[in-house]
């Protein structure tokens, strides 16, 4: 595989670009805030359902898994970072599968094994995964540390943490033991369905964008924005940890 650095020199940094970065980050997160504040938890009637469910409920758990993934901005942000420079479908499938294996493992083991982890810390690590991937996309590791960490391994390992994040959300509810295994597997399948749907949308947008000359010019700035989002997630979750505790 040959990697070719584009011969197009990128424009020099200018204040307009930083303004663009700042405004985009703010707007993106204003949009997130306008949604139900705990969009990353399970809320409202879904919470009520989970509290009282008895026995196997494949359909509802599958739906909840898909819904959780599609509204899981931190998971989606990481995925955007992962596939940002993956042009071949083969590569996309490989990396997404690694992510899937990671998060499925910890989701299943976490809930069924009753592994308790502080949800704020886990979500902060998930936010950090976004920062990491954005930094990687900006070639930061090569520039600052002189080496490229094994990308596939990183995606797998961060996938483990994403899965813990999914597990802690479910563990907040004393889910009935009755049918738990089948329900969690259904939830996991739902997560994959949701991931597939979200990725399809993201890939379509990315593929279109890649045909435009602006993609190469703005790739760097976009990853800086992604890093900002990652920092926001980390800050939000760590604040929650210190202010609200576990």
């Amino acid at each position: 595989m040959r990697y070719v650095r584009s011969k197009v020199k990128s424009q020099r940094a200018n204040p307009v670009r930083w303004l663009f970065i700042g405004v985009t980050t703010v707007v993106l997160f204003a949009v997130v805030l306008l949604k139900d504040a705990s969009a990353h938890g399970v809320t409202g009637t879904d919470a009520l359902f989970l509290r009282f469910i008895q026995g196997v409920a494949v359909g509802p758990f599958m739906y909840l898994g898909a819904k959780h993934m599609v509204t899981g901005y931190d998971h989606l942000a990481f995925l955007v970072g992962v596939i940002f420079f993956l042009y071949r479908l083969k590569d996309v499938l490989l990396y997404v599968s690694l992510f899937t294996i990671g998060h499925s493992l910890t989701l299943l083991v976490g809930v069924l094994g009753g592994i308790q982890a502080n949800p704020y810390i886990i979500d902060a690590i998930i936010g950090f995964s976004v920062v990491y991937k954005a930094f990687d996309n900006m070639d930061g590791f090569k520039r600052f540390f002189g080496f490229q960490p094994e990308t596939r391994l990183a995606v797998l390992i961060f996938g483990l943490f994403h899965g813990f994040g999914l597990a802690t959300k479910l563990q907040e509810f004393a889910l009935s033991e009755n049918g738990l295994a089948a329900n969690i597997v259904s939830f996991n399948v739902g997560v994959e369905i949701g991931q597939f749907l979200a990725l399809t949308g993201i890939l379509i947008a990315l593929t279109y964008w890649r045909t435009r000359p602006g993609f190469m010019r703005h790739a760097f700035a976009t990853n800086a924005v992604l890093m900002g989002i990652g920092f926001l997630l980390v800050g939000y979750q760590l604040s929650g940890y210190f202010i609200l505790g576990s």
Binding site: V4, S6, I21, R88, R143, L232, S239
Partner: protein, 203 residues
């Protein structure tokens, strides 16, 4: 034509990456302190949350928590003396097919109620309380179940308000709900779809 499977933008200078990362960190920190912390946690170090009206968001949540009063019954309320008369009642409600109704008592914080109800058919029910001062329709759920025919127990109100049951007839025929209670209540309300609330005073 570029013969490669992967095309990447030119790698930037170290300084540029550092500046970009720093800017990202700065903007994230600003957004957090200006908007997110005040709105989500009520923490407002720069006072911007108050100016933007965001602290109202976290205040609403805190108010709701305060109204429902932390729900721990302290040792002092093991005995809760009552001045009023001891009341008992047994009431029957007829509920049409697929219809719902509510029956609730006005109770003070710490006030106890003994209850036992049964139905002639299957109901979905929710035992809940609406705190005084909360926005209309806001309620704390104590117990919620599908396909039940009875429930009995004792209840101690965690906050002042109206506390009671929502019953929904799951079946296609009329059913009767029989409720027996004992307590120190003075007022109860009956709510039905499309009807004015019925209030009952106990002397």
């Amino acid at each position: 034509m570029i013969d490669a499977e992967k095309i990447l933008p030119p790698t930037q200078a170290r300084e540029k990456i550092a500046v970009a990362a720093g800017a990202a960190l700065l903007v994230a920190g600003l957004v957090l302190v200006v908007a997110i912390l005040p709105a989500e946690y009520g923490v407002d170090p720069l006072g911007t949350g108050a100016k933007l009206g965001l602290t109202a968001l976290s205040e609403a949540e805190q108010k709701a928590a305060a109204l429902t009063g932390g729900s721990t019954v302290s040792a002092a309320t093991v005995v809760a003396a009552q001045d009023g008369l001891f009341k008992q009642e047994t009431v029957e409600f007829k509920v049409g097919p697929r219809e719902w109704m509510e029956y609730k008592y006005r109770l003070d914080k710490g006030e106890a109620l003994l209850y036992s109800w049964k139905t002639t058919g299957q109901v979905n029910f929710e035992f809940h309380g609406e705190p005084d001062g909360a926005p209309s329709g806001y309620a704390e759920t104590y117990e919620m179940k599908q396909a039940a025919t009875q429930a009995s127990g004792t209840f101690t109100a965690p906050f002042p308000g109206i506390h009671g049951w929502y019953w929904e007839n799951r079946e296609n025929r009329e059913m009767t709900i029989t409720l027996t209670t004992a307590g120190y209540y003075n007022l109860s309300h009956e709510f039905r779809d499309g009807e004015a609330p019925k209030n009952k005073m106990f002397k």
